[in-house]
Symmetry: D2
Subunit: 286 residues, 4 copies
């Protein structure tokens, strides 16, 4: 069991008479992640409508704000209790047995053009025994063949660009791993998260993109960038790729500041809540 | 009111011990399309599982078949009763008022990279009054700037390729129109259909891809390729783009024949069922 | 007749034991551009080999330098005497009559994928009477459909990206115009230049990329970005596209500073040397 | 010493009043390839102008033909006497020592976007000792990671597409190998050739694209597709990539038939002319 405190401050200057915001900043409630407390403040006070996706549990906040300054502050404490499984025993689920709502995560998407990576994926990973070890081999391939390089990519960069240019940031690592998995008929999706243990050398805390794959009847979490301790990842939302889960989609002329984020692991030895730890086990998020 | 008979025969030779098929060939049941009769035959007899998407009403057929020949025959008669609206009065829905389940149709997808067309879309259509006339102008732009050219594209061709190379088939026209709409914050999706009136000069009847846009609280149908009479289009399914609605997704080593399709408009003047007619009205599918 | 003074300072920190530099910074000698004076200084003193391309007259400077600081200073005064022709009388040269050494400027190149723009170019400009007015119409199309936006592109951006995304800097404008011309069988090339009259609002003086097209037996200069006064453009070199004429190609681990450039028009009314002036005539560089 | 007979028949139906042809079908004269006999026939008799590139020795034939049928027949016998070198002793030439006319083969071109493959090339081959063995390792990598698949690509396919999709034909293998070499500062170019020993299972004889790299003061020939015996390759021309050396560039509305080609190795044991043989040596074309 881990406990994570997370705070985000967003700050905008709206130049149009009104602007619409779709925000994905609130912690998800899942079978493995519960919210101990949370607080949202919008300044100036502005009505917000909320939506929780019935399948993915993503939470969406919609705000129509008027010209001028808009500040959003969200703070939460969540408890995360991932199930740790023995990777060796986790098998790939044949397409014939996949739940129907998992099928969309087999198809190519904006940033994960799996249809173009079939030959590569089959050649490189097709001969391995299907299951978690193969997925882990994909994660290792991505981690070892792509160089983490800040500012080397932009919001248009896709898995195809990354397999060509071999540099990127966390979302590029995630997109490439997702695309390779789908090319092998393994359902895969992006998870927009927060990493409590982000290396300060890599800049201030920020949203972190990781991968979930569907195996043996559940979703398993992997971080192909290798920078986080996955047991400490707090989930915001999941989707086909980064196009589905931007933390802010803005409609209207707006100047944005970089989000300010705090994230920390809380401990309470009396009740068995410790620091997130690295593990060699597979991490199931459901 | 129109009545359409549609028949499809699929024929496969399975080379692996088993292969899995996800088929999207059955007519959708929607508020505007009802099924008078339908019949599905799988030879050799093989169990199929079915799924109807609760939001989009798409029907999916999943079959696990064994080595050897597999034939699927589906025949249906459907009644279609599209609502015809006056385009002038149909307005664009602000993002703040869109139903949440419509939001996924605003984001870029595999074949509709709307994020790269923002400047073009704003420059070309941004100054027009939002609503159906602007959407129709987009449809006209696509129809007039792209040349229908069989075999000029393939299953990897996207809206970006089409705006560059200016040739394509129906799905390319659809993808480009969808991408432009989304770049203007207009929800848009692909509709996999059958066109009863396909020009024999363009080859045997085939699946036909058209566009639906969300305006004034409902989805409206447009055919940017200009080859169909939209009131006679029978819907199979809708999705973000062609990646979501292939008529057949096959997992395993399989040889395919080109699908055989029959499609015709049935008339019965006694009960007011005539031929689908061209219309200058906007066609709502809900 | 115009007289331009141009100075460039390059400054590098070489981290490897040695590094090789190919520099294209010296003013070209052409039938219309003569060098009044020039001076090159390399610090520390380092031998340089020189090469002048026999066909294009480009001058190349090759330097092998050792670890540590390297500074290059080049200053020149040139006289430019472009021939001004009446555009209406300038015709397109049929491929059958083009000089053989002009043919390479008909083929697609790294940043000018003219092969993908054939349909667009024919559709948009194919109906116009061949010759300078059509080339000028292409220049106007590019200028009016692309937005000058600093830092919107990078060194990998090509004409295809620009026709999609519709923003760019001078080299992107040049690449797109070149690609369109070649798609219409009009030889076109890039010219790496200096623009004496660069708008200070657009940043400090920098190299400027413009276009030359081959018509009526000679090369004509056009600036599709519209920011320069073409009669005052000092030529460094020409090539198929920016890949051929980088001001510095560096082999080895080197830290670079942004080049410092001064450029000014000198006048001497006694001998009829005035300021470069805008003209409605076609400007021949040979 | 080898002797090769090569015949090509081209057949066109010209629909416009006139059309221009640039043909690259004649055997090159190089230091290692001499022409024993050759004969060109154009029907109907039509004047042709010829051009031999002073640097590359490529021969170009330009024909302006009138509406109607045009047939071109070219037949030649050439002698080829490649120098075979010990690969171990062939070193890479530093940029500082490259002949200036070789420098264009270092830059990215239409189908060889070497600028995007720098990280990959350095990571995969950067640690190897420069020289022929490293170049051969690149050839082996391409041969082993790309699958020869007829009709899997088209005339727009570039090295970037090939490294992503991992299938292609000979020109795709060549473009990828060239791009990787240039990314490592090794000059590389395409060579349009004829392969006397083409496997009949791969279809009728056709033009064959291979690679030349500049090492130790000369150009060396490699076939990354692995289908030819390089000592028996007859050269037509060389260039930066396939954009420079199409066997026919046609300007005007013309219907083309697939070229008919015959190619065979002639032997004459009396004078020591045998069949081209496979060799483990490096093959210098100069």
């Amino acid at each position: 069991m881990n406990r994570i405190r997370y705070l985000v401050n967003l700050s905008y200057e709206i130049l149009d008479p009104t602007a619409d915001f779709l925000l994905r900043i609130e912690a998800a409630r899942t079978g493995r992640q519960s919210i101990v407390s949370e607080h949202l403040a919008i300044t100036p006070e502005t009505p917000a409508t909320r939506y929780t996706d019935p399948v993915l549990h993503n939470r969406l906040l919609r705000i129509r704000a008027n010209k001028g300054h808009l500040a959003i502050r969200y703070e939460t404490v969540v408890e995360i209790d991932h199930r740790l499984d023995d990777g060796e025993s986790i098998r790939q689920v044949p397409v014939a047995e996949l739940p129907f709502e998992v099928l969309p995560f087999l198809t190519p998407s904006r940033y994960c053009e799996s249809d173009r990576l079939m030959e590569f994926a089959m050649r490189e990973f097709g001969g391995m025994r299907p299951g978690y070890p193969r997925v882990y081999a994909i994660r290792e391939w991505v981690r070892n063949h792509i160089r983490f390089l800040s500012h080397s990519t932009n919001e248009r960069t896709s898995a195809i660009d990354t397999i060509v240019e071999r540099t990127g940031v966390c979302r590029d690592f995630a997109h490439l791993m997702i695309a390779i998995c789908r090319a092998l008929s393994i359902p895969a999706r992006i998870s927009s998260s927060l990493d409590y243990g982000a290396d300060p050398a890599m800049g201030p805390p920020d949203f972190h993109a990781v991968v979930e794959v569907y195996l043996s009847g559940g979703w398993y979490l992997l971080d192909p960038s290798g920078v986080s301790i996955p047991t400490g990842l707090l989930r915001i939302g999941t989707g086909r790729d980064a196009a589905d889960v931007p933390f802010a989609a803005i409609f209207g002329k707006v100047q944005s500041e970089r989000p300010y984020i705090e994230i920390e692991a809380l401990t309470d030895s009396a009740v068995g809540i410790g620091m997130p730890l690295a593990t060699t086990h597979a991490i199931s998020t459901w």
